[in-house]
C-alpha cells in the first residue's frame, strides 16, 4: 500500500435520517499510525459519522474508503470484518455474558488461532478485566465496561479502531487510564485510532490531529496542539470542560 494514501478516507459524505440531514458533506482522513479525534457539541453528528463509516446508516452521497476499498455500500457486518473494529457509543457490551465471553465475541468472527495471545494482550492492557473474567458484563462498573468494550474491539486484531466517547460518564482518573491505554496501543502496536469525543481537552492532547464538527459539517481541523490553542475551540469546547 502507498504510505501516503490514508487508511480511512471520507469524501463528501451526506447522511440522512429519513429526510433529515445529519451529515452535510464531510471530508476526513485518517492515516496509518495516527490518532485522529473528532470533537463537537451534542447532536453535531459525530456518532452519525462513525456509524456511517460502519455502514449503518449508509451515506446517501459521497464515499468512504478503507485501505483502498470503497466500503460506502457494503453491509455493516462485512465492513466490520475488514480489520475495522468499533467500540460504539454507550459501550454496548453483552450484559449477561461473562467478561471472557464478551472478549470471545470480539474475536469470534475472524480467525481464532491467536485467541489466547490476543486475550493476554488485552489482559495486560486492562488487568482489571483479567481479575473479573468470570463476572457478568452487566455487573461491571462503568469504567470496567468501557475497558471491556475496547478490549472486545481489540480482539479482532483491527488495523483501525473506532471509539465513540470512551470517556462518557467516567471519573477523571478512569478517563486518564483509558486514554493512556489508547496512547500505549498507538505507540507500541502502531494502531490507528479514530476517536469521537466530548472531552475535547483530553482528546486533543492525545490526538495527532483533530477535526471539529458543527451541525453536520467539519468547521476546523489541524493538529491536536493547534486546535487546543485556537480561541474558538477554547471558547466553545474547553471552558469548564477541563478536567
Amino acid at each position: 500500500m502507498n504510505a501516503a494514501s490514508p487508511l480511512l478516507s471520507v469524501r463528501g459524505v451526506e447522511t440522512y435520517y429519513g429526510n433529515i440531514i445529519a451529515l452535510r458533506g464531510v471530508d476526513l482522513d485518517v492515516h496509518v499510525g495516527e490518532i485522529v479525534t473528532l470533537i463537537g457539541a451534542n447532536g453535531a453528528g459525530k456518532s452519525t459519522l462513525m456509524m456511517t463509516i460502519c455502514g449503518s446508516p449508509q451515506a446517501r452521497t459521497g464515499s468512504v474508503t478503507f485501505d483502498g476499498t470503497d466500503i460506502t455500500r457494503m453491509p455493516t457486518h462485512e465492513i466490520m470484518r475488514m480489520a475495522i473494529a468499533q467500540s460504539p457509543e454507550g459501550r454496548r457490551i453483552f450484559p449477561r455474558m461473562t467478561v471472557l465471553e464478551n472478549l470471545q465475541m470480539g474475536a469470534g468472527v475472524t480467525d481464532l488461532s491467536h485467541f489466547d495471545e490476543d486475550l493476554q494482550k488485552v489482559y495486560e492492557l486492562f488487568p482489571v478485566l483479567k481479575a473479573r473474567r468470570n463476572q457478568r458484563g452487566g455487573t461491571l462498573s462503568g469504567g470496567e465496561q468501557q475497558m471491556l468494550a475496547i478490549g472486545r474491539a481489540l480482539m479482532s486484531r483491527p488495523r483501525l479502531l473506532l471509539l465513540d466517547e470512551p470517556s462518557l460518564g467516567l471519573a477523571p482518573l478512569v478517563v486518564k487510564q483509558i486514554f493512556a491505554a489508547i496512547a500505549e496501543l498507538n505507540r507500541t502496536e502502531g494502531l490507528t485510532v479514530f476517536l469521537v469525543e466530548q472531552n475535547a481537552f483530553h482528546a486533543l492532547k492525545l490526538a495527532h490531529r483533530g477535526y471539529v464538527m458543527v451541525n453536520g459539517s467539519i468547521t476546523m481541523n489541524g493538529t491536536g496542539a493547534e486546535l487546543l490553542a485556537r480561541e474558538e475551540v477554547r471558547a466553545a469546547y474547553l471552558e469548564g470542560g477541563r478536567h
Partner: protein, 441 residues
C-alpha cells in the same frame, strides 16, 4: 392508606400488573379448562367450557389486584411480563445454579431412561411421560428462538403443526413410514421457519410477537379451510405407527414386534417404544442446543439477544443469525409435530391452537429463558400439575394460575435464572482449541 408515599407503585401499574396475571391465567385456563377433550371413536371431540374460564380469569385478576393493593403495595415487586428481555445488571453469577443443574441433569436422565422399568410405570404414567417429554422437546426447541436468540415467537405451534401435517400427508398419500418422514418434516418446518423469518427480520419484541402470532393463526386457518388437502376440521385419520427396523407394533401382521421376539402381545410395547422415541428426540434437541451454544452461531444468538447493534459492530451477520435461529427452532418443532402425529394416529387443526404456543412459551418463560434444565422442571411441574389436580376439575386451573403467579413473583426471571457461561476459564484452552477447529465451519 390514604397518603401516598413515593415508594408506592401507582395504581395504574398495579391494575396493569393484575391484567397481565389475568392474561397468563387466560392463556393457561383456556386449553385445559376451556377445552375438554372427549375421546370419540377414531378421534377427539371437544367440549367448550368458556364460562369456567371466565370465572378463573376473573378470580386471578381480582386476587392479584387485592394482593397488589395490600401486601405488595409498598414493595418493589416487579410486574409480570414487564421487560422480559431486559436482564442487564442484576446479581453476579451464582455458581451454585451451575452445579445444581450439573446434578439434576444426569439424575433426570437416569430416571428418564429407566422409567418404563420402574414398578409404578403403568400405561397412565407412560402416556403422561410421553406428553411431558413432547412439551419438554417443544420447550427446548422454542428456547433456541426465545431463550437464546431473544426473538419472542408466539406462533411456534405453527411449526409443530407443519411437522405433524407433513408426516400425516406424506404417510397417507405416499405410504411413507415415520422414519423417512421425520427428517422431511423437520426440513419442511425449518423451511417455513425461514419463510417466517424473512418478513420479521427488522422486528423485535412486541411487534415480532404480534407477527409470529398471526403466522401461527394463518397456518391453522389454512389447515382448517384447505379441505381437499388437509381434510379441514375433520383432520387426517389413519396415520401409521412408527416401526422398529421394520417391526410393527400391531397385534396381527406379517412382521410384528412381539412375534419376532417371541413375546405375547402387549399394547404397552408400543407405548414404551413411543416413549423412547420422544426421549431420544428430546435429548437430541438438548444436545444440539448445548453444542450450538458453544459454536459461533450459538454465541451469535446469545449476543443478538443481548444487543443487536453491538452484534453488527462485531461483524456478526444478524440476518443469518436470526434466520438460523428461526429455522433450527422450527425444525425441532417439526420433529415434535411428526412424533405427535404418529402417537395420536389422528390430527386436526384443533390440536394446534394459539393456546399451545402460549403453553410452550409459558414453559420456557417459567423455566427461565435460555435454561435447559428450567424447561424440564417447568414442563414437569405444569403438565404434572394439570394431571395432579384433575380431580378438582374446574379448580385446578385456579390453583395452577395462582401457582404460576406466585412463581413469577418469587422468581421473576423463571425457575432457573442463572445463565451458565459457554466458556469457563478452566476450560479456556480446551475450548479455544475446539473453536479453532470448528470456528470456520
Amino acid at each position: 392508606m390514604a397518603t401516598t408515599s413515593p415508594s408506592r407503585r401507582p395504581a395504574a401499574e398495579l391494575v396493569k400488573d393484575a391484567a397481565y396475571s389475568a392474561l397468563i391465567a387466560l392463556a393457561l385456563a383456556a386449553p385445559i379448562i376451556g377445552l375438554q377433550t372427549v375421546t370419540a371413536r377414531g378421534g377427539l371431540g371437544l367440549n367448550a367450557r368458556w364460562d369456567d374460564v371466565f370465572l378463573i380469569v376473573l378470580a386471578v385478576f381480582a386476587g392479584r389486584l387485592l394482593l397488589n393493593f395490600t401486601i405488595w403495595r409498598h414493595q418493589g415487586a416487579r410486574p409480570i411480563g414487564q421487560k422480559w428481555f431486559q436482564r442487564a445488571g442484576g446479581r453476579p453469577f451464582a455458581r451454585h445454579g451451575h452445579t445444581l443443574s450439573k446434578i439434576i441433569g444426569p439424575l433426570a436422565l437416569a430416571v428418564a431412561l429407566l422409567l418404563p422399568a420402574l414398578p409404578f410405570s403403568d400405561r397412565y404414567v407412560m402416556d403422561l411421560s410421553i406428553m411431558v417429554l413432547t412439551y419438554i422437546m417443544l420447550g427446548w426447541g422454542l428456547n433456541i428462538v426465545v431463550g437464546l436468540a431473544g426473538l419472542l415467537d408466539l406462533g411456534y405451534v405453527a411449526f409443530y403443526a407443519i411437522g405433524a401435517y407433513s408426516f400425516a400427508l406424506l404417510a397417507t398419500h405416499f405410504d411413507l413410514g415415520f422414519w423417512i418422514c421425520l427428517p422431511l418434516a423437520g426440513i419442511l418446518a425449518a423451511f417455513w421457519g425461514v419463510i417466517l423469518g424473512f418478513p420479521v427480520l427488522r422486528l423485535r419484541g412486541d411487534y415480532l410477537a404480534i407477527v409470529t402470532l398471526a403466522f401461527g393463526e394463518i397456518i391453522r386457518v389454512v389447515l382448517l379451510n384447505w379441505y381437499e388437502f388437509t381434510g379441514g376440521p375433520n383432520g387426517i385419520l389413519g396415520i401409521p405407527d412408527p416401526t422398529l427396523f421394520g417391526l410393527e407394533f400391531a397385534r396381527r401382521g406379517d412382521n410384528t414386534f412381539h412375534e419376532f421376539f417371541g413375546l405375547s402381545y402387549s399394547s404397552m410395547h408400543k407405548i414404551i417404544f413411543l416413549y423412547y422415541i420422544i426421549l431420544c428426540l428430546a435429548l437430541i434437541t438438548n444436545f444440539v442446543t448445548l453444542r450450538l451454544r458453544r459454536l459461533p452461531v450459538g454465541r451469535a444468538w446469545e449476543a443478538l439477544r443481548e444487543d443487536e447493534i453491538a452484534c453488527r459492530s462485531l461483524g456478526i451477520n444478524t440476518t443469518n443469525t436470526k434466520l438460523t435461529a428461526f429455522a433450527i427452532g422450527a425444525m425441532f418443532g417439526g420433529f415434535a409435530g411428526s412424533f405427535f402425529a404418529t402417537r395420536q394416529g389422528f390430527i386436526s387443526p384443533e390440536s394446534f391452537t394459539f393456546i399451545e404456543s402460549a403453553l410452550i412459551l409459558a414453559i420456557v418463560v417459567l423455566g427461565g429463558l435460555g435454561s435447559q434444565v428450567g424447561v424440564v422442571i417447568a414442563a414437569i411441574v405444569m403438565m404434572g400439575g394439570f394431571e395432579y389436580f384433575r380431580e378438582f376439575e374446574q379448580y385446578r386451573m385456579l390453583i395452577f394460575g395462582l401457582a404460576m403467579v406466585f412463581i413469577m413473583v418469587w422468581r421473576p426471571r423463571g425457575l432457573i435464572s442463572t445463565r451458565s457461561p459457554s466458556v469457563i476459564l478452566k476450560e479456556r484452552k480446551a475450548i479455544g482449541a475446539d473453536l479453532v477447529g470448528q470456528g470456520h465451519g
